[in-house]
């Protein structure tokens, strides 16, 4: 059987899972800029599902698609080291401020440009926003079905794919026609590690912007090894309608952000008086601990 053409959606995210002391500001709030940028964990698991198909069906190609600032090319290299065949970075200042709807619009245009494809794989959600919306929204815009919370791709042929999905209290096995968008759940297996040979091969994979900014000149190397090019696509490359991008294309607006303050566990000691108890209740209501 010939291989499959798979697109993996990936996002570079601040690592919100382990907020250490050095990422805390003096006032007890988290310093977002101090958190390391990582390959979103469930997107890595989506890559693993794609790599397993590639192991089984030689000729399968895996292309990573990410949207973000220039530095997001880091996760494309990370994917190449683990077995992906290429990657595309969608980047443009005009995307700034995009919510999930505007993001899914940009991503769906890029996917259309990459067509034909058999399957799109993505993590269920990213650890910075936890919305789980971009995958299904992109599927809707592409007019293809979706299977969310995949734990395992059981089998695939050129007509259909069988997927085991993890629900809150059980599992479902689904059969979907290709092309389909599948989001991968945290209970799916971890991604394999970097491959030493691939690390050597793709060490100098860069976007044009990175090449221009680099001190070493790899232009000649890229001329002889075109696989080192990481294409950058802008709004113009996507033929996007700017009305649907960035802030203007984002129906949701952030009205207010409150930092959750982590206090050292110095207990406030209260008595059982009416005043103390009522003050506590009001405080808990105000900070939305209870509603």
């Amino acid at each position: 059987m010939k291989g499959f053409k798979i697109i993996v959606l990936a996002k570079q995210v601040p690592d919100t899972r382990n907020v250490g002391k050095d990422a805390m500001k003096a006032n007890g709030t988290v310093n977002r800029a101090a958190l390391p940028a990582v390959f979103n964990p469930e997107d890595l698991k989506a890559l693993e599902q794609a790599l397993r198909i590639k192991d089984q069906y030689p000729g399968t190609t895996i292309t990573l698609l990410t949207m973000g600032p220039g530095r997001a090319a880091e996760i494309i290299r990370e994917g190449l080291y683990r077995g992906a065949d290429g990657g595309i970075l969608i980047t443009d200042r005009k995307f700034a401020g995009s919510d999930t709807l505007a993001t899914s619009y940009a991503i769906s245009l890029a996917i259309k440009k990459m067509a034909p494809y058999d399957m799109i794989l993505a993590g269920r959600q990213a650890i910075d926003g936890d919305t789980a919306q971009v995958g299904p929204q992109a599927a809707e815009k592409l007019g293809i079905p979706q299977v969310t919370y995949c734990e395992e791709i059981v089998s695939i042929n050129h007509k259909k794919v069988t997927v085991k999905r993890r629900l809150e209290r059980g599992v479902e096995t689904m059969e979907a026609p290709l092309p389909v968008l599948i989001t991968v759940h945290g209970s799916a297996p971890e991604c394999r590690s970097r491959n030493a040979k691939l690390l050597m091969k793709y060490k100098h994979a860069q976007t044009i912007t990175e090449m221009q900014e680099a001190t070493d000149d790899y232009i000649e190397l890229h001329d002889s090894r075109p696989y080192l090019d990481i294409p950058e696509w802008t709004v113009a490359d996507l033929n996007a309608d700017e009305k649907w991008l960035g802030l203007s294309g984002s129906p949701t607006k952030v009205k207010k952000v409150t930092n959750v303050v982590f206090k050292a566990k110095e207990s406030k000691v209260l008595t059982d008086s009416d005043e103390d108890i009522e003050r506590l209740i009001i405080e808990l209501l105000e900070n939305h601990t209870i509603g």
Partner: protein, 339 residues
Amino acid sequence: MNNIIVYCEIEEGGIADVSLELLTKGRKLADRLNCELEAVVVSNEIKGIEKVVFPYGVDTLYLAFDEKLYPYQTLPHASVLTKLFEEQKPQIALLGATSIGRDLAPRIASALKCGLTADCTSLEIGDHRDKKQKKDYHDLLYQIRPAFGGNIIATIINPDTRPQMATVREGVMKKEIFDPKYKGKVKKLKTSEYVSKEDFVVKILERHIEKKKIDIKSAQIIVSGGYGMGSKENFEMLFELADVLGGDVGGSRAAVDAGFIPHERQVGQTGVTVRPHLYIACGISGAVQHRAGMEESAMIISINKDPNAPINSIADYAIIGDVGEVIPKLIKFYKKNAK
């Protein structure tokens, strides 16, 4: 009229708790906005479902009944809701932040090009001024949710698009009958006008869903009792407090051993490990075996007569007093101050 609509999730032939919680909240929002509350059920036929729904204060119940519409599948349910929202133009649409709601809502929001906020923990009504455009908005839905790994709480609004869509976590809102005699209208939808053959291209080959059991792990608020509660009867207070706050009840090993509460509710090394937003430890001394199962809770309140109880050292608030007096006060002042 632009009403509030709640998608009712079907579970074991009945309506999921999260949907009933949303109806309870929806009724309050509808009263605040002076509009009607609507509900929609998409399923195979369930006789008498309106008797369950109307007491929550539902004015109109849309029923899309068809053998093919149960169990849930993304495409047909998205088609029904997208078309129904286009026809009815609700101002607010609420779904549970469950496997189903989080799969379905983004599909609808994308089709309608409207804003959607996932996993809200609180919903309020409020105004907004767009300073750049010098434009005032009244009675928007404030969609409040934790983000950034729980490090921030964000208030999200959708000023210009409708419906304002949100999914809400199970167990964060109260479930409360509005009026047992409340009567609404039933509107049956002709499903053939809402779904097409193409909506059924994905097939469910196998399905294993476990029956709902006691599972305190998913509760965002846990009221937990220890040996210091004194009796099984005194645990009733904890159930009352948990019910009022929209949480669940747990217990320490000592309380389980004493037969105050079943083992399924035990928190600790030999029970379950929980990380709720709020953990209220009542009459629990705080042995290591118990602390191991709850010390990662976002906020801990301890209620204990003994000021030197180990639990106090990991509590954010330590109330020194008798549980029998403190708990009724918590309930009283919550009822007095909650909106």
